[in-house]
């Protein structure tokens, strides 16, 4: 898939594409004249941070804009059809039939009210490509090619009965239903675990090759795009930065912005001296078994977290990472075992803990969007814990809030009276950090705090957390599924699988073989920049 397109006919061209978005009553341009050419059977990677206009450009290839957006200029020609001039009916006839779309979250993009098969058959039947019975048997064939389990029957399930990775493959199969000429993949693996991501990537690449389908592959993950695309186009704030074929783009990026994207993954935390053996850990998780209802989600979990140290808890979704955090904070009293804080046993239920015990352990959440009350101003968001735990009032409180804003590198005068809606994603996460700091804790749980952020922004957050740790002697428990993040921040690593700790130890040991087989699987599943990585890995896994 990484060959050049020699003499293949052009399928899609965009010239000087301009798109405007409306905010309040004014229109402002969000895509400033993008040119794009795609040949038959070719895969183009579109990469950039959020707000770069990747999805908007991808949807425009279908002649589609989201509500509140409009195409204000330029040309879009798909296989000789001018999409700017085409009627709504003409475009509708292309969508689903000749150009298909695979969305980021299959769980949200499948209609919860209908079975997978009904949703699969809709496009071929409604577009008159084939009858229902034929579509059904075709679906089973594609489900099999996508390596879905039980391909004969999986189509007769509802979306909520199928796992995320399987849904994503079912959605790719659905996009293939009419054998389109072009598929727009909009971050199809971003929401998946690394191990699941590999399976989906391999299945997508395989089927796109089999049917010689052209694709626009949108992602913010460079290593992923390196595996999937023939050519890569880098976007920044609605402008093109540069475009080149995948290999030359990876080996010799020309623009500074591209180089900075490439450099992100190089940050790593300096190795810390080992902790003295007789030192009391800040938090000690001892023999914890816990669960919901009659099901045990955690089984005999043990680990310690020391002052000024970061313990990364890694594992796939469902491995019990977040449940461990709930047990430590007292939201979920365990069935067995105990939590020690500075050597003293904490009451299992947070309602029985003293205010000071509560103050000592704070949390930062994955979705800063939902973790901040949208109706409160920054002053109240950060001020409340300072008021509640430390009893600060009046000027002392304002001074403390300003001091906290300084710490998270946001200008106090500028930000203190803003609402969360007036902040960017990274700034919101900084407020989340300030809110945790306001209680002056000894220990902070960071639950996937960077996974919703762009790489450059995430990098800034990690550096900030690092700085705050040495300034306030904090202990961190860092929940993540991203091993690149682990490399960047952790001192020690705890690998979890199905509610058990599989392996734990200092970071340097964890990243050095030999590994536990599951750790090995996790490590080897992290995409690398090498465009041959996926091919080699699949060959190796089949061989082994």
């Amino acid at each position: 898939m990484t060959e050049q397109n020699n003499g293949k006919p052009v399928l899609l061209t965009m010239k000087g594409l301009r798109i405007e978005g409306r905010s309040d009553e004014t229109w402002s341009e969000i895509v400033h004249g993008i040119d794009l050419t795609l040949h038959k059977g070719e895969v183009l990677g579109l990469i950039g941070e959020s707000g770069a206009g990747k999805s908007t450009v991808g949807l425009a290839a279908m002649g589609f804009t989201r509500d509140g957006c409009r195409i204000s200029g330029g040309e879009i020609v798909f296989d000789g059809i001018d999409l700017m001039k085409a009627s709504e009916a003409t475009k509708r006839n292309l969508r689903g039939k000749r150009i298909a779309y695979v969305a980021q979250s299959a769980a949200a993009s499948f209609n919860p009210a209908h079975k997978l098969m009904d949703q699969y058959c809709e496009a071929p039947v409604q577009h008159g490509v084939m009858g229902r019975a034929e579509a059904e048997s075709d679906a089973v064939d594609l489900y099999r090619r996508m390596q879905l389990p039980d391909p004969d029957n999986i189509g007769f399930r509802y979306p909520h009965q199928v796992s995320g990775g399987q849904l994503q493959r079912a959605m790719t199969a659905m996009a293939m239903a009419c054998r389109p000429d072009l598929i727009i993949f909009d971050e199809p693996t971003t929401a998946l675990d690394v191990t699941t991501q590999i399976e989906v990537l391999a299945a997508i690449r395989n089927i796109v090759e089999q049917f010689d389908t052209a694709a626009i592959y949108i992602t913010h993950d460079l290593a992923v795009v390196a595996q999937m695309a023939d050519r890569i186009k880098v976007l920044l704030k609605g402008d093109e930065v540069e475009e080149a074929d995948t290999r030359s783009m990876l080996s010799a990026p020309k623009e500074d912005y591209t180089k900075s994207l490439w450099a992100v993954r190089s940050h790593a935390r300096a190795e810390q001296p080992p902790v003295a053996a007789d030192k009391t850990p800040v938090v000690s998780v001892q023999n914890i078994t816990a669960g919901y209802g009659s099901v045990d989600v955690l089984m005999n979990v043990n680990f310690d977290i020391h002052e000024r140290r970061t313990v990364a808890v890694v594992g796939e979704s469902g491995s019990g990472k977040s449940t461990t955090a709930r047990v430590i904070t007292g939201l979920l009293p365990p069935r067995q075992g105990q939590i020690l804080f500075d050597g003293e046993t904490l009451p299992p239920d947070y309602r029985k803990r003293t205010r000071d015990q509560l103050r000592q352990a704070q949390m930062i959440y994955q979705m800063a969007d939902t973790a901040l009350n949208p109706k409160l101003r920054i002053r109240e968001l950060i001020g409340r814990p300072a008021q509640m735990y430390l009893g600060l009032q009046g000027k002392a409180l304002t001074d403390r809030i300003r001091n906290l804003l300084d710490l998270i590198e946001l200008e106090p005068d500028d930000y203190i009276d803003r609402l969360p809606a007036e902040l960017s994603g990274g700034q919101k996460q900084r407020i989340g950090i300030a809110r945790a700091l306001a209680a002056e804790p000894k220990f902070i749980i960071c639950d996937e705090v960077t996974s919703a952020l762009d790489q450059l922004v995430a990098e800034g957050i990690l550096k900030l957390l690092d700085k705050l740790q040495s300034e306030f002697d904090l202990a961190y428990m860092f929940i993540t599924h991203d091993l690149a993040t682990v490399k960047a921040i952790a001192d020690e690593v705890v690998v979890m699988k199905e509610g058990r700790v599989i392996e734990q130890g200092p970071k340097s040991e964890m990243f050095r073989p030999p590994h536990d087989p599951y750790t090995e699987l996790l490590l080897s599943s992290v995409p690398e920049m090498d465009p041959d990585w996926l091919t080699d890995l699949l060959r190796e896994r089949e061989g082994g």
Binding site: L59, M62, F64, R66, D67, K91, R92, N93, L94, R95, G96, K97, A100, Y101, A103, S105, A108, S109, F110, N111, P112, A113, H114, E122, A123, Q126, H127, R157, Y158, H160, Q161
Partner: protein, 318 residues
């Protein structure tokens, strides 16, 4: 499915408890009213002796809790007692009235429910268009006028001048179905105008609420026609709130139509209830109140069951 059956059983048991509490409240409330049946019945002719005689005869001189327990014992054995006014069994008195009320409610619902669903879907499809604004404005207008005003306007236009429909919806003997439909058209139309706005606006809002969902965008990107996107993709997910509003309005059609019954001289339960309260005819008041409460309980239960069935996540567990 078993969890649905257990939910129905639980709710029916709770429903019985509700009915018991309602009967207590109604009994207590009528006791608080000034005067009793004997005084109301005798009116000007009331002397202390005659009043006392009637009370003794009907057992009204017994203490409150004795009378309630006596009434409850009867009900538990299926005996709702006799009307104080005309000594006829309450069951007999109510059954024809109940039939009439249900007939009118169903009649109005048969027009109003499909109409409001259709208008709601179309308004969602052509949102912010002239059609949307017009149907919203007219629905709101009709709900804003008091019922008796709507009723008299309809009588004025459709009965008074043109004389197309009768203004009195009462009938004697055993009229044919067509005759009944014809005679009760105006009250049914009045009720339709009153309940349509609520259901239509809920349908529209519930659908529009979902239009920003990723699966709606997906349906559009699969090239589906706008009508199909609304009916096939949005509507099934919007059913729960719509069903609840429909149930609420159906309950209103059964219990809240006194004014319309009075205007059209329609022999329904509402009028009977008002008359019986005025006469302090306790057994009848209690029976009608229980019917009204049962209507609410059953309709809400039906709505909850249907809303549950409309959600595959609740029917087909993992």
């Amino acid at each position: 499915m078993s969890h649905i059956w257990s939910m129905i059983a639980k709710r029916l048991a709770l429903g019985l408890l509700t009915l018991f509490i309602v009967s207590l409240l109604i009994f207590g409330a009528t006791e608080l009213l000034p005067g009793d049946f004997a005084e109301e019945f005798l009116g000007q002719a009331a002397t202390p002796e005659t009043v006392a005689a009637i009370r003794r005869e009907l057992g009204l001189d017994l203490p409150m809790h004795t009378r309630y327990i006596e009434w409850l014992t009867g009900v538990l054995q299926g005996d709702f007692g006799n009307s104080l006014s005309n000594r006829r069994p309450v069951i007999e008195l109510i059954s024809t009235r109940l039939g009439n009320t249900l007939f009118l409610a169903l009649y109005a619902a048969a027009i109003a429910v499909p109409l409001s669903l259709m208008l709601g879907i179309l308004a969602a499809l052509f949102r912010n268009s002239f059609f949307d604004r017009f149907s919203n404005a007219s629905a709101l207008t009709s709900i804003s006028f008091p019922e008796f005003f709507v009723a008299y306007i309809l009588i004025f236009w459709l009965a008074g001048r043109g004389g197309m429909f009768p203004s009195m919806a009462s009938f004697r003997g055993d009229p044919s179905m067509a005759e009944m439909l014809y005679r009760t058209f105006l009250p049914a139309l009045t009720l339709t105008l009153v309940v349509t706005a609520h259901m239509m606006r809920m349908t529209r809002a519930a659908i529009i609420n979902l239009l920003a969902s990723p699966y709606i965008e997906m349906a559009r990107l699969k090239g589906m026609k706008p009508m199909r996107v609304i009916v096939k993709h949005a509507l099934p997910n919007a059913l729960a709130p719509i069903i609840n509003v429909i149930a609420l309005n159906l309950a209103y059609l059964i219990t809240g139509v006194v004014v319309v019954e009075v205007v059209f001289v329609f022999p329904g339960l509402g009028q009977l209830m008002v008359d019986s309260v005025a006469a302090r005819d306790m057994p009848v008041v209690q029976a009608v109140a229980l019917i009204f409460a049962a209507a609410y309980v059953l309709l809400n239960l039906t709505a909850d069951v249907l809303a549950t069935l409309s959600n595959p996540r609740l029917v087909h567990r993992r």
